[in-house]
Symmetry: C2
Subunit: 150 residues, 2 copies
């Protein structure tokens, strides 16, 4: 069982932007920090932009910024938005060919388990991922610390 | 997010055996019922046998039978046993290269969500998948109904 790489990278991008705060970031910078493909990140950033999670500002002083405060981004919603297929097994899919589906209780049971999984994530926001760790994350991401009021 | 095909097929095999009850089943019969690859099923059956979920009896009157009563097979344990990798994102894996892992709170939060998912499945057994639906499942699986005491 795993989440897609798309979700994994989406969380990393938003975490990076949250740590950067008011400063704008570039895709190149995020790709380099996490040693991940720039092309893959482009698609992630584009979709996060479309869904309002981040803002891409054009121009010389442009770059990426969080589109909403980290406290308002729940991990449950983020996972629902970035996992394009929540089909736990074949009978959840449109092309399902399992012949016992009409009388099988697996799907409602798995749906109940999935709801419990997402309910836990609904209890956390992007801000919770940072809480008390912003300076360590900033160091690990090699983001220069900007003194307050500087 | 999805479970592996291995888990999906494991559940189908055990459901088939549960519906068959005292009668022995063959891999060919299960493969045909679900229109799935015989080779893939061989591996599934082998592992379910090793783990005691089913018994393979050799010989002319041989075949496959459930290794334990359906009431004693919890779906949580079955998923834990058949999902070979519960690595929700990269930082769960041995080859993790995400540089922020030491200060990132994602892993404990995802572990909490995963526990909630499995806790729901721990509340159900293979018998619950059948409950009240054995005759419909038997018809869908094209298993001839054996009259009681016959």
């Amino acid at each position: 069982m795993h989440l897609t790489r798309f979700t994994d990278y989406s969380i990393r991008v938003l975490l990076f932007l949250a740590v950067k705060g008011e400063e704008r970031a570039t895709i190149g910078e995020i790709a380099e920090t996490f040693s991940i493909s720039r092309n893959h990140l482009m698609k992630v950033v584009q979709e996060l932009n479309q869904k309002g999670y981040l803002t891409a500002i054009r121009g010389k002083k442009g770059g990426l910024m969080l589109g909403r405060p980290p406290e308002s981004i729940t991990l449950g919603d983020l996972v629902r938005d970035t996992e394009h297929e929540m089909a736990l097994v074949e009978c959840f899919r449109d092309d399902n060919a399992c012949i016992i589906t009409p009388s099988c209780r697996l799907q409602p049971i798995l749906n109940e388990a999935l709801s419990a999984f997402l309910a836990v994530l609904d209890g956390y926001t992007l801000a919770d991922l940072l809480e008390g760790h912003t300076s360590q994350l900033s160091r690990l991401m090699r983001i220069p610390t900007v003194p307050v009021n500087d």
